[in-house]
């Protein structure tokens, strides 16, 4: 008798249920429970009644938005140049831009601290913004480069032949066609920025903390239910952000290879 090969996915199916699905369900459960396990909304009420946490949350969103905008402004031209065969022929340059994505964020952050020390520049909000852009710029460039690179060049040529100026070709053809890449870039920068922890403290000498740190501190201090509620709030923000970007762009990015 032949064993159906689809049964080979069963061990991993069980693994996923136990280590991916169940933990997320548990976050939701813990968020709505008090220490004794009784149902409560107290954890969420606490969040809205703790000015410090609320402020950290709003500040994290502001920083994430600012970081996303800067990364887009710096990253789009770079992605465009890299994808343009007249301006860039070498695939090594592309790899050089993607590589930092894979270096430990902590090491990259400490390297930024080292750079500021070396230049005798004070750590603080400026360093925080620089460090965030430095950490996340590759995550913006990569998806945009991917869509631009796969784009059929004949559309732009057709527009040109039909009398469009280079500026018009860009705004009316290239830019709209690259939107899936832009959206997934926005997602890949915005979401992780809110959730980073440790990075902000190191770059600002503990003056500034972001929402990820709030979660980590609460979990660390045994406030599991409150920590779970905060994590659930972050998941909600992530859900809302991903709802804005269509799922097609995410798929396109994943099948485009990881590296």
């Amino acid at each position: 008798m032949r064993i159906k090969r689809s049964t080979w996915a069963i061990p991993y199916g069980i693994f996923l249920a136990l280590f991916v699905a169940l933990p997320l369900v548990l976050i939701a459960l813990y968020a709505f429970q008090d220490r004794t396990g009784a149902f409560t909304l107290q954890n969420f009420a606490k969040f809205f009644n703790t000015p410090e946490d609320l402020h950290t949350f709003i500040y994290s969103i502001e920083i994430a938005l600012l970081n996303t905008v800067i990364c887009l402004l710096l990253g789009y031209p770079a992605a465009w140049i890299l994808a343009n065969s007249e301006l860039n022929r070498s695939s090594v340059t592309v790899i050089l831009f993607i590589l930092p994505m894979w270096i430990n964020m902590l090491i990259r952050t400490l390297a930024t601290v080292a750079l500021f020390d070396f230049l005798r520049m004070p750590l603080g909000e400026g360093a925080l913004i620089f460090g965030m852009v430095y950490n996340f710029l590759p995550f913006m460039i990569y998806p945009i480069y991917n869509t631009l690179n796969k784009m059929d060049g004949s559309y732009a040529e057709a527009a040109q032949d039909l009398g469009a100026s280079p500026a018009e070709v860009f705004t009316k053809v290239t830019l709209p066609l690259s939107m899936p890449g832009v959206l997934s870039g926005l997602l890949m920068v915005f979401m992780p920025t809110i959730s980073t922890f440790a990075v902000a403290e190191l770059l600002t000498l503990n003056k500034v903390k972001l929402f990820g740190t709030t979660i980590q501190e609460n979990i660390n201090n045994g406030m599991w239910n409150y920590g779970a509620a905060l994590a659930l709030i972050m998941l909600a923000i992530i859900g809302i952000t991903s709802a804005f970007t269509d799922s097609d762009s995410k798929r396109a990015d994943e099948t485009g290879g990881l590296i």
Binding site: L16, F19, L137, A231
Partner: protein, 265 residues
């Protein structure tokens, strides 16, 4: 002219991206305690690092990072490759569900993965330590193995497996002699990728390492940096890590671009 500006812009960004790590690399060749002071060329920090002239907890952390990386990579590769064969032969709703769950750890921010696993281990009453860190790493590495094995399965002729069975091979022999040789490049890419992800991880490890004093390199560096001022020996160490990761990624990239060319030829 346009070309000049484009090139200049690209190089400016690259310099910005690499300046911090280059500075660490340069100052790994001097003895000064504080980064930014150049006290002459010296290999002393590298010597200290290699001869074990550093704190024993750092040596332990390096050992843990490497052993966890190897174990997690091997387990993820086995689990992910078998899963990929299964998923590839699945249809309909089950396939959708398992593919969706496979995507979750890749899309979730590290901190959510970390917190959710932490709560899982607390709820199950498991003491957190080496084993939980390995399990956590397998959780976020395996999806990448599945993703790198899948394309190889798609390229395979589905009839070869059936042919092997018809010719009298047991399913086990067919797996070993027909399927595995064809998906091996994907498995190797997945293995290297998993190892890289594992040794690079910080957030998930921090949440699942428990309080028994287990440290990997990332959590050690984190604790060290919070105490204020980095141990000077971490500079050569970061430089070495950077070079190792660089080498591993170049290997993966060259492999995949070579395969591309093979397919096109």
């Amino acid at each position: 002219m346009k070309k000049f500006f484009a090139r200049a812009y690209i190089w400016l960004l690259l310099i910005l991206l690499y300046a911090p790590i280059v500075i660490i690399a340069i100052f790994s060749f001097t003895e000064a305690k504080v980064l930014g002071n150049w006290t002459g060329f010296s290999l002393k920090l590298y010597g200290n690092l290699l001869s074990g002239g550093v704190s024993s907890s750092l040596v332990k952390a390096i050992g843990n990072t490497l052993s966890i990386g190897v174990i997690a990579a091997v387990l993820s590769t086995l689990l992910g490759s078998i899963a990929a064969i299964g998923i590839f032969n699945m249809k309909g709703r089950m396939r959708k569900a398992i593919t969706f769950l496979n995507d979750v750890p890749m899309l979730n921010p590290d901190i959510i993965t970390g917190v959710s696993l932490f709560i899982l281990f607390v709820a199950l009453g498991v003491t957190q330590g080496y084993v939980t860190v390995v399990l956590a790493h397998v959780t976020f590495c395996t999806p990448y193995v599945v993703l790198s094995v899948m394309p190889k399965l798609r390229q395979m002729n589905p009839n070869t497996y059936e042919a092997a069975l018809d010719l009298g091979a047991t399913p086990w022999q067919a797996l070993r002699k027909v399927i595995i040789p064809q998906i091996r490049p994907g498995m190797i890419s997945g293995l290297i990728l998993s190892f890289t992800l594992s040794i690079d991880d910080f957030a998930v490890t921090l949440f699942t390492k428990g309080n028994q004093g287990l440290d990997t390199l990332s959590t050690y560096i984190y604790a060290d940096a919070r105490k204020g001022g980095l141990t000077p020996e971490l500079r050569p160490l970061m430089t070495i890590i950077f070079l190792v990761v660089l080498a591993l990624l170049l290997i993966i990239n060259l492999r995949s671009s070579r395969n591309h060319r093979k397919q096109q030829a």
